[in-house]
Subunit: 133 residues, 6 copies
């Protein structure tokens, strides 16, 4: 259960409703996801997050699928159930194959292990990693 009501067009502030409309048009979907319906309780926050997501997730120096894989990685490390589901679905929609998903999981698993080991031993950073001359 959410801590706020999930708002639909009927209940939402006009600012939120306009964002809903932009999401449906941009993504070519019949309805917006629960995340946006929950965020609609704060129209300015909804507007900010949607504008930001639209800008950041578009293809650029990194392609759209790579960005989704990074999103899944962060969401997993942060234990965000909703985000893991929404971005795994998004990655599939953008063409993620089973092989790519399996390799993503293998990298997340390895990173989680070496993160724990480097942290538990407090390994000092090598000078060779220094990018600043």
């Amino acid at each position: 259960m959410p801590t706020v009501p999930l708002l639909s067009d009927a209940d939402a502030h006009p600012v939120a409703s306009a964002v809903f409309e932009d999401i449906r048009r941009t993504r070519q979907v019949a309805d917006v996801n629960n995340f946006w319906k929950a965020l609609a309780n704060s129209p300015p926050l909804l507007q900010h997050v949607w504008e930001r997501a639209k800008e950041v997730m578009q293809p650029g120096a990194l392609d759209a699928l790579t960005k989704e894989l990074i999103y899944i990685a962060v969401s997993t490390a942060n234990s965000c159930e909703y985000c893991i589901h929404s971005h795994t679905a998004a990655a599939r929609a953008k063409g993620m194959t089973s092989e790519q998903y399996a390799e993503l999981q293998a990298v997340i698993a390895l990173a989680s292990t070496t993160n724990a080991l480097a942290t538990s031993m407090q390994v000092p950073v090598d000078q060779s990693f220094n990018v600043i001359s």
Copy 2:
């Protein structure tokens, strides 16, 4: 300061020394990084992690640079200073451009924000994310 001594070939168990040699040969480097020198205090763990890293990080369904970006994302979410440095250096060595790095950071930043929002409102997962028919 580390919680264990950083071992060199002179101090390390022959099993660890053989792993060091394999790392130097595989990566074409003069010396192994501190992470491996610290892990050498447990030769079986060193051997396991190195074998796993060699296998997981090679190009496959995902290319080597994409894997490094995912590694940085996980390491950032887990606040692992050493791993952030070592894998940012590795990503640069594998050709990460400034533009790619900036976009990686933008995705990590956005994911961190929406993770926090979805978690704080405990947004229920949409049925449409369900992959199981």
Copy 3:
């Protein structure tokens, strides 16, 4: 499902039952929440946590609502579903308005973003932040 049975007065140790009674009296509620019923499996731990909560959450240099907002912030960053729900409910009971809740979320979202960015770039701490002369 919990990893321990949720105990009621009928099942609980007299020490736990006395804590239940104090919670009901202090908070003027008919029944204690599931958290306390679960903790009752270890009466000394129940007693300790309840005494601590009573002392820490009372108004002092910070008012009771501000303390609840801080509690929600920590619980969100730690992904504690139960605590997010219980302390969001508590904050509402102490008068948190929709506007305050929206601003709380905006600050949590911003902090999560800048935490990730400062960590990913390992920004060195400014000397000007030093409180020790």
Copy 4:
């Protein structure tokens, strides 16, 4: 050491330099902090984060000091060394007393404890926390 060079006006892109100027003017400071100098490696990200920080952290339904306390709480739970220092300094600059700081720490400490306990026992959320009728 940072993963990127810390840029000053002399090295920064004009867009970044304009943000630096706005930060100095808005905060009435002689120089910007390292966080902004690091972010300047991606002028659009710098601009976005600064605009967002300016908007979110201004007094509203929550006062400026309360927002800093929430920021410290999130940064602590996320182990962000830089952010803990910068926002503890900011909170002091906005009038945080020693008594308030001690109570903030006590709430963070208590929340961390009960987060761990509720999570370890996987306590089911009480129906009474439900805000949706």
Copy 5:
């Protein structure tokens, strides 16, 4: 709901099926847990994790129950619902008493509190903790 189908012997790759068989034989159980059925979507990852779990969790310098307690502690700090449940059940199966469980929780709770306090105050590490002469 999972992000992948849970595979049984009927659906799984022969490599995965062989791992299932080894799990059933080693643990003397009629069926494998959902974790393995989900991992079976990537047979090499399933094989790797199972081999590693078999090796790491066997009694050695630390007994099998102590290893489960450590596992619960990590899983709690990482908010992994599945792992908390599976390893609390495993610890009980290996003889964890109610008294031991209560003390485990008390240590996890205390560590969570002091972790937060040491981090919030950024306490400098004592030289006396240095293991390297």
Copy 6:
């Protein structure tokens, strides 16, 4: 650098000074660690944490060394540099061998990996883990 001054007997409140004395006597040490000197800025918090640590960490259903191993595990997952160092030193002082430390690290590493995998696939909890009949 810490966010608060590290207090010695000369600077500390009498309540804090009495706690310092109890720590030195109980642990048979010449001086208290930095954690306590930092906490002394809030004498009631110092007193509370010390009393709690004394009670929780004493041998009971779990022996003192096992408790330290659990403490290291939690501190690692929470990325608490200070706590990792202080409790690794404490574990060594209580007799932790190199073999035990290596196995502790192997369990933490494995748990971190399976936590990430179970979370990334959102594996549903098996009914067989249910402790409540």
